[in-house]
């Protein structure tokens, strides 16, 4: 990622967003496991996976196009789009799903009472429910990231844009009395992305890498016509 000296904290709150270059994405799924490791996402096991309870905050969607031999495949990493006009937020009766100043779709686990309405309202199906209380078979619990809380039974969870990393970067920047630079925050998926297909940053900073990519003529929004105003821009493949 390019280093940029532009300040982002000086002009009000950031607006975190992501650009996904589908021409770079290889479908390697490094992001998927990186996300599991970073965010303490439970492994549900074969039976639960068969019952449709597998949890992947980010997934690589695969679509076949055409028939043999003229067949093509489209990969698309889908994670929470952190919509500015998010369908999941108004429906939650307790504000467990709410919008933050920095444009994140927050899921506040302790406030969640498990109506699962947000998951129904979400058009992207990126919300996952803890159907049971997860445990980690010892000593797998030692792998857990202490910066991310463990969600208990009957709580909805989803991609947070690795808010723990955002918070840490902000605290560090404030400690050092410097503005947050572009590239200071990298969610786990972005950091692992082998082909640099994922770019994260502040959309309020017009010079940030993500802003520049989001203005690309290749840029589209997923289900953009639904008016959800997602903050993830997909750069379409060329050729």
């Amino acid at each position: 990622m390019q280093e940029s000296s532009t300040a982002t904290t000086t002009n009000g709150p950031a607006k975190w967003g992501m650009a996904v270059d589908l021409d770079r994405c290889t479908g390697c799924e490094a992001c998927v496991t990186a996300c599991h490791a970073e965010n303490n996402i439970p492994t549900v096991g074969a039976n639960q996976a068969a019952a449709g309870r597998a949890m992947h905050w980010i997934r690589i969607e695969r679509y076949f196009e055409g028939e043999f031999p003229d067949v093509h495949v489209k990969f698309r990493p889908v994670l929470c789009q952190h919509c500015d006009n998010a369908p999941c937020e108004p429906v939650c009766p307790t504000y467990a799903s709410s919008h933050t100043d920095e444009g994140l779709n927050a899921q506040v686990y302790n406030r969640c009472i498990g109506t699962r309405y947000c998951a129904n309202a979400c058009n992207y199906n990126v919300r996952f429910f803890n159907w049971f209380n997860p445990i980690w078979e010892k000593p797998l619990h030692l792998q857990l990231n202490p910066d991310v809380s463990l969600r208990e039974v009957s709580v909805m969870e989803k991609c947070t844009f690795c808010v723990q990393r955002i918070k840490e970067a902000k605290i560090d920047a404030k400690r050092d009395a410097r503005p947050l630079a572009d590239g200071d925050v990298k969610p786990a998926c972005v950091q692992s992305c082998t082909a640099n297909a994922l770019v994260f940053g502040d959309l309020n900073d017009p010079e940030s890498a993500v802003s520049r990519l989001s203005r690309s003529p290749r840029g589209t929004k997923l289900l953009g016509d639904l008016g959800t105003q997602p903050k993830i821009t997909y750069l379409q493949r060329e050729g």
Partner: protein
Amino acid sequence: MSRIAPNQMTDDLLRPLLHTTWKFYAGVAVLGSIVLAGLGAWFYQVYMGLGITGDNWPVFWGFHETNFVFWIGISHAGTLISAILRMVDATWRRPVTRCAEAITAFALMIGALFPLIHLGRPWLAWWLIPYPSERMIWPNFRSPLAWDFFAINTYLTSSLLFLFLPMLPDLAVVRDKTTGLRSKIYGLLSLGWQGTPKQWHRLEMAMHIMAIAIIPIAVSVHTIVSFDFSMAVVPMWHSTIFGPYFVAGAIFSGIAALIIAMALLRKILHLEAYLEPIHFNNLGKLLFTMSLLWGYFVFNERLTTWYGNETHEMAAFWITQTGRYAPLFWTMVFCNFILPFPFLAIRKLRTITGCVIASCGVVVGMWLERFLIIVPSLSTKPITYSWGRYMPQWPEITIMIGSIAAMVLLYVLFSKFVPLISMWEMKVGEHPEVKEAASVAAAQEAGELL
């Protein structure tokens, strides 16, 4: 309508209260154990988590929500019969009102439980109550689920009042007919009803106000229940027709439930003299109207979706029309429309049996309708990669059966403690000279009659 002497009437209608057979205990025991099984399943679900149900990603709602909408729908029986017919002063309603109002109250109690049952963490449901706290967080008033909370509570309160108010004179009769503790309890319940002209006047006034008030409440409740779906941008949910569609469906299933309940009561409590074919005939006509209305709504909903040909909607459309859920869809159409049609449209078939058969079809069909609104749409949301499916598991089936048993049990117990046919309204109806009981004298006479 044959005339029944007031005393005979009192005896007939109070018989269940004063004489208890072994059949009652057996019935309560059987129903009670089914209800306990349902409760047990619920507690097991709370203990283990919702994973024991068939809900999954992406079909996060299934049987619990279907049952919620279904029972709230059933609860619309009382509103129509009691309130509307009371307002237009349709006299044939008199023996039917209390049966209908009881259905409203009980179905609503059970229906209102389902949002709790479906919650992952029901012990936190009190967060929906807007109380001030130092944490400075309120419930989200933008959420249709919060609207549900208020709507259902309002409806439950008002329909309990609506059931209870006209019960006062009858409770007073029971008070006078019994002795000891029972008399005291009924005394408390009858709130000191003495049948004075002032009391009659106030009761009439209250009933008029309630009848007027409860109609918009009932309409709004099911409209708000429909908002649970239509507010979400989910294929086939996001529809302007859902409000009236749900209200019509609710009244439809409510009448059907009422017909079934009346037929059972007539048989079991030997009320042949009170619940006459004319009542079934009239309700059958109403049911027929609603069936046509329902058919009209379904046709509208389907046609506009199909004609609109919007990609995401079409997935949910075809899966019910020709896909995995098509058998259920066509069964629903059969039960709600094709089956009731001959029984309700042809006068010769619109007998008590005919009406009951049609009603059974409607109850099943309307349950399927709710299921078909919820599950197919959720399994075919816009992102095709996340398409999924749903299969109920034993806990939710047990809870559903338990809820049906609870309905019957509540009804059985109710019939044990309160006369199921409003005695005073019957008497007023049977003796037209007291019908224009606006004057003090007439009211007094009515009081004496009791």
